[in-house]
Symmetry: C2
Subunit: 152 residues, 2 copies
DNA sequence: AATGATTATTAGCCGAAGCTAACTTTTTAC
DNA sequence: GTAAAAAGTTAGCTTCGGCTAATAATCATT
């Protein structure tokens, strides 16, 4: 069998040269995926502290829809990564870094959500889609979303 | 410490009642995540077959930006799940089901990409963001994206 | 047809994120 | 202040999706 380039020139269909760009995209998406869970937790912890004065594992578990041991393990990773602090059998606190990340995530979430609503989506679907999309929008896209949502 | 409801009523800020909706969103996102890799592979396999006449693991690896053993393992899962067929040391074929999924993914990808471009994003960023976003848009959102992209 | 290069597979490692079961600690209620 | 309930932790299992190193098969070139 011939090489990639040979075959490409044999067939050379539409394609500007998306192949290499695509690789970068895949790699970027995999990177984004690695931080998704941490971002969701940190954002939720900030919310809980704001709403209820503290972030307890049991509430995190309920809101995330996972079991308590899963939360415990994830909190261990967040602590290791310097995003939270905690003492045994006590609730969780955000570090400076954690707070900064939470703020960033909250803002991003808000923008995506407002954008989807502005586009005409119903609130439930908008919430669900925003949760998935927010981790995959670049700064540029976010800026465009923001402009669109704000325009009347 | 008091219960969730007690604390909520003590603080009861903005909030219509997004807490339960949020849980559903998180669960939905986790479900979507489980099929992301499979969808990317199937879509790419279809592309390779179209462009080059066959889908070889080495080309899949190059396009995905992963190593050959990673591809091998993933192809094993795809075969187990009935999306592809393959013979040892040969290239990969899509099953009926795999072809259907690939078509669906390609269409979704196209719509998201066209939407982002229509919004004014540069092609590289659009490609990268589309790759991440496409797995997290509901049918409703997709319909809105499509309408928006088509409007002049 | 033999050999060297390319490609594919296998084995075995790792970390993330989920789970259940069992146990400890803390909180609540009496 | 003690007993029951709730919350938190630990241990141990699973799957997924990466990786490297080593091996096996195929292909291409002479």
């Amino acid at each position: 069998m011939s090489t990639d380039e040979n075959l490409a020139s044999e067939h050379q269909e539409s394609e500007a040269r998306p192949a290499e760009a695509r690789v970068e995209a895949f790699i970027g998406v995999r990177e984004a995926r690695r931080s998704e869970v941490a971002e969701d937790y940190v954002e939720l912890i900030a919310e809980l502290i704001h709403e209820q004065g503290e972030a307890r594992p049991v509430d995190i578990a309920a809101r995330m829809g996972v079991t308590a041991p899963t939360v415990a393990k994830t909190l261990g990773r967040l602590a290791r990564d310097g995003l939270i602090t905690r003492a045994k059998y006590r609730s969780v606190f955000l570090t400076e870094e954690g707070r900064a990340l939470a703020k960033e995530c909250r803002e991003r979430h808000e923008i995506v959500l407002r954008f989807l609503l502005r586009l005409g989506l119903d609130p439930e679907t908008a919430e669900r889609d925003a949760e998935g999309i927010e981790h995959h929008v670049s700064q540029r896209t976010l800026a465009l979303f923001s402009d669109f949502a704000d325009r009347n």
